[in-house]
Amino acid sequence: MSTLAAHAPGVAGGGLSDVAASEASLRRFLHGLPGVDAVGLEARAAALGTRSIKTTAKAFAIDLAISMIDLTTLEGADTVGKVRSLCIKGKHPDPTDPDTPQVAAICVYPDMVATAKAALAGTAVQVASVATAFPAGRAALPVKLADTADAVAAGADEIDMVIDRGAFLSGRYLEVFEEIRAVRQACERGDGTAAHLKVIFETGELQTYDNVRRASWLAMLAGADFIKTSTGKVAVNATPPVTLLMLEAVRDFKAATGTQIGVKPAGGIRTTKDAMKYLVMVNETLGDDWLSPNWFRFGASSLLNDLLMQRQKLRTGRYSGPDYVTVD
C-alpha cells in the first residue's frame, strides 16, 4: 500500500495518529486509499471458494466454525423464553454429543441482555448486544450512547454498533469517526475494562467496494475491536468479496500499526459450505492468527443447524435432516 507508506513511515501507529485531526485530513486519507480492483477481488473470492475440504480437515473446520458463531436472534417478536432457549442451544449445540464446542456468543437486542447474561452465567459464552438504534442507526447521538450504556450496564460483553450510513455516504467522515469514538467510550464499564466494540458497516448500503475499504479504515482508526459487514436486515448481506476486502484491510492495518482487528461477516451465511469458504479466505488472507473466535466470528442463526447436521454425518456416517436439530 504505497499511500499508507507515506502516512506511516515505519513507526507503529505513528503516522496515522493525526489522520483524524480534521475533516479535511481524514477525507484526504480515506480518498487516498488505493481503489479496489473489483474484478480481481471477485475473482479472488470466487477462486478461494472452490477449495475442497474433506474428512479430518472438514471435522476441524466444522468445530472451528461452531465455536466462532455469534448465535443471533434479532426479531421484534423475541421473547424471554426464546432468548433463554437460544442460550441453552449456544451452551449445548448438540445435546446428543457433549463434545460439540460451544458457540462464541449470543447476540440479542439490548433489552434481552440481562436475560441472556443470566442464562449463560458460568459459561464462556459471551453476550453480544446490538446498540445505537440498530439496524437503521437513525437516532440522535445521545440516544445511541444511552442505548449502548444501557446494554453495557446490563452486562453485555460485546457491543455491535451500526455506523451512520447517511453521514458516511454524504462524506461527513469525521462525524462517523467521532460517533464511533463516543460509542467506544460508552462501552467502558468504569472499572477499567470495556465491552468489545464491533462496528457494522451495512456493506449492502455502501454502494461501492471503495466505500467498504474506506469504512474499514475509518472504523479501525476510530478504535473498533471488530469490523462487521451487515445487520442481516437488508437485501444484500455478507458476501465473499466484501468480506475478503475487509480481511485485506485488517491485514494492512496490522502491517501499518501493529494492531490486530477482528472481522465478522453476518447475514446470509446459512450452509457449512459457505462457512468453509469464509474460513479458507481468513486462512489465505490473514493466516492462523485470525483462525480463532477472538478474531473471527460468524453472525448467523440457521448456520448452526447445518453445521450440526454435517457434524452428525461425519460422526455417524448417516446423512442427517432437519428433524434431528432444534427448530431455533
Binding site: Q312, G317, R318, Y319, G321, D323, Y324
Partner: protein, 300 residues
C-alpha cells in the same frame, strides 16, 4: 456435394427430475440405455449419491406444502397428471415397447392401464381417511379420533422386473405414495429409466409442486443405499431392490433402514414373477401413513 440434404435426427437428452427442475447428474456422467435386444436407445444421466441427497433435500422441502393441501386438491392435481399422460400416450408406448421388448399393441395396453391406475389413485386422495381413520368409541365424555397422516419423505426403489415394470410398475408404486400426501425420491429402474424420466416432464407440466416427486436414474447399488441410510428419509419402498446379496439388495437395505427407524415395504418374494397389471388393492396406499389419535373434550 449431393443436392439432397438428409435431415439429422434430433436426439433427446434425458435428464434427472429433482425439485421441479431438470438437472444433469452432478457427476456429469451418463450411461447407455439399450432396448430389450441390446440396441442403443439413449443416454441417461448416471445419478450419484450426491444427486440422491439433493433429491432428498428437495423432497423434504416439499413435504409441508404437499401434505398441507386439501385431499380434494391433491386429487385434482393427480387427475391433471393423468390428462397429461393421455396426451403423451404415443411417446410412452414407444418407450415401454423398447424397454420391455413388447409389440406396440401390448405396450399401448400397459400405458393405458398405467393412466387408468393413476386416475384410480387420484380418486383415493379424499377417501383414504374414511378407511384408515376412525371415530373411536371411548368410555368418557370425549371425542376420540384417529386420522391418517402422511409419513413424510418416501424413498422408492422402482420396480426392475415383472410384466409392465418400466412404466405401469413405476406408476403403481409412485402414485399411492404421493396420493396420501407424502413426497417421493425414486431410484428409477437402472435398465429401463426412459419412461420414468419422461414421466418427470409430465409431472413438471401438471401442477405438481416441485420436489413432490424426484426421479434419479443411475446404479441401484449407489442410489438405494443412500436412500436407505439417509436420516431424513422416513420410509422406504423396496419394490425394485436388487436380487441376491450386496449393496442394493433387500436385506442390506432393510438393515440400513433399521438403523434410522424407517418404515419399510418389502419387495415381492420373486419380483420377476410379479404381474403389475393385476388390480393393486389398497395395500400400498395404506403403507405410508401414520395414525394420529386425538382426544377432544366436548366442553362439558
Amino acid at each position: 456435394m449431393s443436392d439432397v440434404v438428409t435431415r439429422l435426427d434430433v436426439f433427446k437428452t434425458y435428464k434427472l427430475f429433482v425439485g421441479g427442475k431438470f438437472p444433469r447428474s452432478e457427476s456429469g456422467r451418463v450411461y447407455e440405455v439399450t432396448d430389450a435386444k441390446g440396441q442403443w436407445l439413449a443416454n441417461a444421466p448416471l445419478g450419484t449419491r450426491k444427486d440422491t441427497r439433493d433429491a432428498v433435500l428437495a423432497a423434504r422441502a416439499a413435504v409441508k406444502g404437499w401434505s398441507g393441501t386439501t385431499a380434494y386438491n391433491r386429487g385434482q392435481v393427480l387427475y391433471r397428471v393423468a390428462e397429461m399422460l393421455q396426451g403423451r400416450r404415443e411417446q410412452f408406448t414407444a418407450e415401454v415397447a423398447a424397454a420391455e421388448g413388447l409389440g406396440a399393441k401390448k405396450a399401448a395396453a400397459l400405458v393405458d392401464q398405467a393412466i387408468d391406475r393413476w386416475v384410480w389413485y387420484a380418486g383415493w386422495t379424499d377417501k383414504v381417511s374414511q378407511i384408515a381413520g376412525a371415530a373411536n368409541p371411548v368410555a368418557g365424555p370425549f371425542f376420540n379420533l384417529s386420522v391418517p397422516e402422511p409419513t413424510g419423505v418416501v424413498g422408492i426403489v422402482a420396480p426392475q422386473a415383472g410384466h409392465g415394470h418400466s412404466f405401469l410398475g413405476l406408476v403403481s408404486v409412485l402414485a399411492p405414495v404421493i396420493a396420501t400426501g407424502n413426497t417421493a425420491v425414486v431410484a428409477v429402474a437402472a435398465d429401463a429409466p426412459l419412461p420414468a424420466l419422461s414421466l418427470g416432464e409430465v409431472l413438471a407440466t401438471s401442477d405438481v409442486p416441485g420436489g413432490v416427486v424426484n426421479l434419479v436414474s443411475g446404479r441401484t447399488a449407489d442410489l438405494a443405499p443412500t436412500l436407505a441410510s439417509h436420516q431424513d428419509v422416513n420410509a422406504l419402498d423396496l419394490a425394485g431392490a436388487i436380487a441376491g446379496e450386496g449393496p442394493g439388495a433387500a436385506a442390506s437395505l432393510e438393515a440400513l433402514a433399521a438403523d434410522t427407524l424407517k418404515r419399510v415395504l418389502r419387495p415381492a418374494v420373486d419380483p420377476s414373477a410379479q404381474d403389475w397389471t393385476l388390480a393393486p388393492g389398497t395395500d400400498r396406499l395404506l403403507s405410508f401413513l401414520e395414525t394420529k389419535t386425538v382426544w377432544h373434550p366436548m366442553g362439558q
